[in-house]
């Protein structure tokens, strides 16, 4: 069903022998500029290696080789390790000496049992598309990659329940479902790389949350290996089951600190056969909110995405895509992408056109376009989905993914921009200043804003200007410092801005109960 990956691929090491000039090239398409600094160095004032964890030795390697039965499922070569040690934003870099890529849940169980006994720290890693450094080791933790567990286990075309391995790439799962007339209830920009297990472990939100709700609702069961090697499974759970504590809910969003998710059972809705996309230009944030209210009222059940983007995010995306903006009549302060999904194109189009006509008549929308075919829909979506890449394009990006009550949502971007300007750090064109600009975009439908501070380099001065300022601002507005990206390494020290002492204590109690040795994803989360 899926394309077999990397057929007949020569190993990286041998290629380089043939071409000495490429010996230092990092094997990633976005590799550019200088090497990524080690997290351990950058944050040496915040975190030290805990000496309770054992250092990897020869005996351990032999043991793992014995479990995995195949040398190809272990990576300890310096250059190949780099891919697993770095995050895509080039912000965090670990020093792991070993990547394990088990093929079965039993292998994961044996690995965890051994690591627990030996006090070897472990970082579970999916597609490594996280935004807070959660999947990257801080020091020498072993990386447990789920990428070899990539099989669809079963699909029930009556109930729409999909069961699959944790390492199935989201887009592959969705393509599989598409052939059966169903859709994965979650979609996000990184769908081509991120894993189904990873999105559950991080409780990812994404573009369809508005329509299909959070994974806490759609995931029916999980299979996971606990830190001591115990295999927990609720993968055969039914849609309704009120017996006992719902343990899987603890794993969803645990970011690999409670267990390693190895299998997922998820309820999939039937795939909409008609999708329409419109892209609108709006003159103020207040008006964006009015358009949202109107869209919810008039499009009601077919509204499947309501994404807003500020003018600067589109400017940077245009530079990155090297393309002219689809809305040609001028630059506007805000843009909105509306998607409808339904089962009857005529009905949906009529609703959408009526809504848009009204919005234009009332002066809420200054200009707009409706995609006329699938290619145009995809092209319009790319102006939203390319923002994360565009924002990191000049060197790096500080990402803040926050929930704030709607009326104050965009105020955070303005506040951050003011703060950075006061510190005299910003210039959108000149390379003399470290910051390109602060941009805002996000899932307005969910009250979720992405504040991205696009930078030319990561530096302490920028970080000090933004943190804890941003977190304090959010706390003041009763927001959450992490709406959908999680805590990971970046926000470990800031959970107190969103959670009470009681809540934090409960979280720590649970962690200590299931992982008394603290071997799973240490130095992160809380």
């Amino acid at each position: 069903m899926f394309k077999k990956q990397i057929l007949l691929s020569a190993r990286l090491g041998s290629c380089q022998a043939l071409n000495p000039f490429r010996a230092n090239a990092v094997s990633r398409f976005y590799a550019s500029g200088k090497a990524v600094a080690l997290t351990a160095d950058t944050y040496s004032d915040k975190v030290q290696r805990d000496s309770k964890y054992k250092k990897l030795d020869e005996k351990d390697l032999l043991f793992f080789r014995d479990i995995l039965k195949d040398g190809n499922y272990m990576i300890s070569n310096e250059q190949d390790l780099e891919f697993y040690n770095e995050d895509w934003m080039r912000k965090y870099k670990g020093q792991s000496q070993l990547v394990l890529k088990p093929k079965t849940t039993e292998q994961v169980s044996e690995i965890m049992k051994y690591c627990n006994a030996q006090k070897l720290a472990v970082v579970p890693q999916g597609g490594n598309t996280g935004l807070v450094g959660g999947s990257i080791p801080v020091f020498d933790e072993i990386i447990l990659s789920l990428s070899n567990m990539n099989k669809i286990r079963s699909f029930d075309s009556v109930s729409g329940i999909l069961k699959c391995d944790a390492g199935v790439i989201l887009e592959n799962a969705d393509n599989f479902l598409a052939e059966n007339g169903y859709i994965f209830p979650l979609d996000l920009g990184a769908k081509g790389s991120c894993h189904v297990g990873g999105v559950c472990a991080t409780n990812a939100g994404g573009l369809r949350l508005l329509r299909y709700g959070s994974l806490h609702g759609t995931v029916l069961g999980l299979e996971a290996v606990l830190p001591d090697g115990t295999i927990y499974s609720s993968i055969d759970a039914l849609r309704k089951d009120n017996t006992g504590y719902d343990f899987k809910q603890l794993l969803i969003g645990s970011e690999g600190t409670l267990g390693v998710i190895t299998g997922v059972s998820i309820l999939c809705p039937s795939r909409p056969t008609s999708t329409n996309v419109a892209f609108l230009a709006v003159s103020s944030y207040e008006t964006v909110q009015k358009v949202f209210v109107g869209a919810r009222k008039e499009l009601s059940e077919i509204l499947s995405a309501f994404e807003f983007m500020d003018g600067k995010s589109q400017l940077l995306t245009g530079r990155y895509l090297k393309a002219d903006h689809p809305i040609e009549s001028g630059d506007y302060p805000f843009y909105v992408l509306i998607e409808t999904s339904g089962s009857n194109r005529d009905h949906d189009m009529e609703k959408l056109e009526t809504f848009l006509a009204n919005a234009m008549e009332e002066g809420l929308v200054d200009d707009g376009i409706i995609a006329q075919d699938e290619a145009q829909s995809q092209s319009l979506w790319s102006w939203r989905e390319s923002i994360p890449e565009a924002s990191a394009h000049d060197g790096g990006v500080y990402k803040y993914d926050v929930s704030i009550p709607l009326k104050d949502l965009y105020g955070l971007v303005e506040a951050a921009e003011t703060k950075l300007n006061e510190a005299n750090l910003v210039d959108i064109d000149s390379n003399d200043k470290p910051v390109v600009g602060a941009i805002g975009y996000g899932h307005l439908g969910d009250g979720n804003l992405h504040l991205n501070v696009c930078v030319r380099e990561y530096n302490k001065n920028i970080e000090k200007t933004l943190e804890p300022f941003v977190y304090e601002w959010i706390q003041e507005k009763q927001g959450s410092i992490s709406a959908e990206h999680g805590l990971g390494f970046q926000k470990k020290n800031y959970i107190g801005y969103s959670k009470s002492d009681v809540e934090i204590k409960l979280i720590k109690d649970i962690k200590n109960h299931y992982d008394p040795n603290g071997i799973l994803n240490p130095y992160k989360y809380v």
Binding site: R11, L280, I327, S329, M360, D373, Q378
Partner: protein
């Protein structure tokens, strides 16, 4: 003939090019129920070119008329064309009948006479049947000069110069109006329909005709015997070393 251009743009409604077509259960054609249809991409390029000619040459275009031959639903793509800038449009409703290029050309010939068009710009082919014949047959029926697979079009009074991409270079043709041009992929990049124009397009004229109104009988000369998928690609193998790779490649005589 006046030197003002009356451009005719024929448009075909096809399965959206981004959707993967599937063969129907009977094996007689492609499954169409629940599938998204859009304007044929080459037709979209042809339409775009007519709009650009009007924008680049002030006052020389009198009218851009879009025409589609297809089911009632084909009026969706005509509305799109009107939203993008066509002035008027005609739908020749042939129901769900498959119409072969010769009949399409005969119907178009009648529309050309009716609209008194002097420049026809159409896609070089439709992505559903890939026939690449309609433009050429129409040129034969009208006995007009034709320039196929255009990658550049320039107008100077009544003289039209067309650059075509051919193997190993380009070929430049010029002719006096009236003329037929078929559009290739690189001619231009079509625009989006803007919201205000989509609204305005609802009020633009869309004439509906039957093939009998044009005096053309729908006959099929071809019979489709069977439609089948190309054979699936065989699964690959994974090798552990360069030596193994080399020996495998030798085995399959790739090196």
């Amino acid at each position: 003939m006046s030197s003002k251009l009356k451009i005719l743009v024929p448009l075909k409604r096809v399965i959206d090019f981004a959707t993967k077509p599937r063969i129907n259960k009977a094996g007689t054609g492609v499954e169409t129920t629940g599938v998204k249809f859009s304007m044929n991409p080459f037709c979209d390029i042809a339409l775009e070119e007519s709009l650009r000619i009007r924008e680049a040459n002030k006052d020389i275009v009198e009218k851009i008329h879009a025409v589609s031959i297809g089911p009632t639903k084909a009026q969706d793509i005509l509305r799109t064309a009107l939203a993008k800038g066509a002035d008027t449009s005609t739908l020749v409703d042939v129901g769900n009948e498959e119409v072969e290029p010769l009949i399409v050309a005969k119907l178009l010939q009648k529309v050309v006479e009716k609209e008194q068009s002097n420049l026809i710009i159409l896609g070089k082919q439709a992505i559903d049947d890939d026939a690449n014949q309609t433009g050429q047959i129409l040129a034969g029926l009208l006995n007009w000069p034709q320039a196929t697979n255009a990658s550049k079009v320039e107008i100077d009074g009544t003289k039209v110069t067309v650059t075509r991409e051919v193997d190993g270079g380009s070929d430049t043709l010029s002719a006096e109006l009236p003329m037929i041009i078929t559009a290739d992929l690189r001619l231009n990049e079509p625009r989006y329909a803007t919201l205000p124009n989509v609204m305005k397009a609802k009020k633009k004229p869309l004439e509906k005709l039957k093939s009998s109104d044009l005096g053309v009988e729908l006959v099929s000369r071809l019979e489709t015997l069977k439609v089948e998928e190309p054979p699936a690609r065989a699964a690959g193998v994974k090798v552990g070393s360069v030596d193994e790779l080399v020996s495998k490649l030798k085995e399959v005589k790739a090196i």
